[in-house]
Amino acid sequence: MSTAHPAALAHQFESLEQQKESATLGMWLFLAQEILFFGGLFMAYLLYRWRDPQAFAAGSHELDITLGLINTVILIASSLTMALAVHSAQLSRTKALVRWLVATGVLGTAFLVIKYFEYSAKWEHHLVPGPGFHFPEAAIGGRAEIFFSLYFAMTGMHALHMVVGLGLLGWLLVPAMKGKFNAEYHNPIECFGLYWHFVDIVWIFLFPLLYLIGRHYHGAT
């Protein structure tokens, strides 16, 4: 061990570059795994939407499109702040890094708070699947239940990923404030950024599938 060993270099790697490439590849593989994980839900959505498009359109109609839209904007903004955080880390700007990470965290939390109010409204309107489920339109009735099952399963699984993301963000904030990340070493920030963008992209698919498709057709009939 005659060569200098940077503090951030784990023992199994030969160089920081190798370590970075490994971490990035690992994160991409993890995201590939995530796509398949959500894929099961999207499969169920496709099947049941194809079977009963009317019930799905009616279900869409009951979702709060304003809150959904606000949340979409919030998440896209959080992707921007996250990208700026990674950029700051690459330039060794510790203060900016911390600032953008905090901004990302605030936006992520705002998303979850709005989601909470959306869920509670569904609860009050008896739109949570189960014995208490009651759909306002008699013509659709219980057929809409499966839409709301998928709505809660898909957005719930997405929200869970947001919670995990916020946890990871808090965990990265401490070393970020201590100035551990710099141009030479910032894998964790970059990998976390990949994760955060991925969770955003899932929402970019969820929003049209759940909130938008078919809702105006339903209103017209």
Partner: protein
């Protein structure tokens, strides 16, 4: 560092570098984690084996006289769950893959050692949760968890076992991810893709399935648990759901999962055939890519489990044809192994006995798989013992033969000691004979129409069932014998030395047991794998029968 000053009297290896329970439970060394897997996997194998023996004892007589039908349902379910999720899937990658992949590619460790340790803890947590569910009442859905029985009607521990398998799934995903990154990024200088041992290629293919297939099972189990706990209706026809969707999602993972079990075994067999034929594997590139082909095709055949589940005849025909395609890369392997044997300097040491056994049994298992992939024939023998015999030929005849062969081959590397050649040959013989005696009669029973998963049967089938139970007893003996001589070898076995088999590969160029960082000097590779033809470099085979 200067050599004279730092070399102590006994050179430390990965086993002696550190001491105490904590040094094991918090280890980041891939070799120690491999041994931790050996511990866990052996425990779950024992549990699964006990359930198997109880099943065979019940089937000794035609009347259902030993256990109640309810209990019998729990027995075959827990046998399947334990064996598949906690033995067959993790065994070879967890133990041998963990131990060998970094060494074979000339790395110090896997890319993510902490993740590797986490994988083991997830595996143990999942396994122990499942074990806990057994103690508190078991599970009776079959290992396949078919809805709506599992979601609505079963009164047993669906949720705990489902969550146990969910957690264990992430162990597999993270292990696969770790292997893939390691193989991509951690190879020693000169270790190009086509210089990799085929063991590594096959594990790469396995990892691909684990990373891309397992999450689908994970989300399916989540939906099952939600269905059962909150009745969300996704699999419930009375609420607009479809139970057959469960079967599609389940088999999208669980059919590729059989390749998660067999590919690592094929990984081992390639190494054994080359080492004990003293030849480079015939058609190296074909064997390497056949692993990838099996992994890819494996994702396209799940529908052959649904020939009688309301799938259209057209879809069934397509899945039937796709299923037969898998036979091509499988046959490529078998033919290439056979050609490797041809005119090789074949020696019949214990690992080679297992390898040859594997080829025979896998051929029977694989070819009956083509029968079952044939739409018309499958409808005839669906849910009979023919299916049971087929997948045991692949899983036990395939995976366990490879697992035991690999364990015998690398035991000297792992522990530094040799076991008894005589007794190990005996155990290989017992396993082979016992296995065939157990499962060949089941082909006949299945063809005559004996359905699986019943605790009683008509009297005319008793002779074949008695043979099967007798075979299971012989098989059990064959599995217990290695436990005895492996433990014996730790204290009394001859010291193995670096390369007791005269085999090729980086793992044989380091000490037995290897040092913590695997090599004293970072290896540089300048030759192909299996370079047995370079005579000058081939060490002679030691006579091992003397032990």
């Amino acid at each position: 560092m200067s050599a004279e000053a730092t070399v102590p009297e006994v050179k430390p290896n990965y086993l002696t570098a550190d001491h105490g329970l904590k040094s094991w439970l918090l280890t980041l060394d891939h070799k120690r984690i491999g041994l931790l897997y050996l511990l866990g996997v052996s425990f779950f194998f024992l549990l699964g084996g006990i359930f198997a023996m109880l099943i065979r004892l019940e089937l000794l007589t035609p009347a259902g006289d030993m256990v109640q039908p309810d209990t019998y349902n729990r027995l075959f379910t827990m046998h399947g769950v334990m064996m598949i999720f906690f033995f067959l899937i993790p065994a070879i990658p967890g133990i041998l893959g963990n131990f060998l992949i970094p060494i074979q590619i000339g790395a110090k460790d896997l890319a993510f050692p902490k993740l590797n340790l986490l994988s083991w803890y997830l595996f143990m947590a999942g396994g122990l949760a499942t074990f806990g569910a057994i103690v508190t009442g078991g599970l009776d859905t079959g290992w396949t968890f078919y809805t709506p029985y599992s979601s609505t009607f079963s009164t047993t521990a669906v949720i705990p076992v489902g969550l146990g398998i969910f957690v264990n799934g992430f162990s597999g995903i993270l292990t696969g991810l770790n292997f893939m990154v390691t193989i991509h990024r951690m190879r020693a200088p000169g270790m190009t893709w086509f210089r990799l041992p085929l063991f590594v290629w096959s594990h790469y293919a396995t990892s691909l399935i684990q990373v891309l297939g397992t999450p689908v099972l994970a989300i399916t189990l989540v939906l099952l648990v939600l269905e059962r706990a909150f009745h969300i209706g996704v699999f419930d026809p009375t609420r607009g759901g479809d139970p057959v969707l469960f079967q599609h999602l389940f088999w999208f993972y669980s059919h590729p999962a059989v390749y998660i079990m067999i590919l690592p075994s094929m990984a081992v067999i390639s190494e054994l055939i080359a080492a004990f034929s003293r030849k480079r594997i015939f058609g190296y590139h074909f064997v390497a890519f056949s692993s990838i082909a099996i992994a890819v095709l494996g994702f396209l055949v799940w529908g052959h489990h649904l020939f009688v589940s309301s799938q259209s005849v057209y879809a069934g025909t397509v899945f039937s044809l796709l299923t037969m395609l898998v036979a091509i890369p499988s046959a490529v392997k078998v033919f290439n192994w056979s050609f490797t044997l041809y005119q090789g300097a074949v020696s019949l040491h214990t690992p080679m006995l297992y390898a040859l056994g594997f080829i025979g049994l896998f051929m029977i298992g694989g070819l009956t798989g083509v029968f079952l992939g044939t739409l018309g024939f499958d409808v005839h023998v669906h849910d009979t013992y023919f299916v049971v015999a087929h997948f045991h030929y692949v899983m036990v005849g395939g995976t366990i033969m490879g697992y035991l062969g690999g364990l015998h081959f690398w035991w000297p590397k792992i522990t530094g000691r040799m076991y008894s050649e005589f007794w190990s040959r005996m155990s290989a013989l017992l396993v082979f004979v016992g296995f065939n005696l157990t499962f060949f009669p089941q082909f006949l029973l299945g063809y005559m129409g004996m359905p699986r998963r019943y605790h009683a049967y008509p009297e005319e089938w008793q002779v074949l069932n008695v043979l099967s139970t007798a075979g299971a007893s012989v098989l059990a003996l064959g599995f217990l014998l290695p436990v005895a001589y492996f433990f014996w070898s730790l204290k009394f076995g001859a010291v193995a030395g670096r390369n007791p088999w005269g085999a090729r590969g980086l793992e044989w160029e380091t000490d037995s047991p290897p040092p913590t960082l695997n090599f004293d000097q970072a290896p540089v590779v300048d030759h192909e794998a299996y370079n047995y033809a370079d005579d000058a470099a081939t060490p002679g085979m030691k006579p091992l029968s003397a032990h």
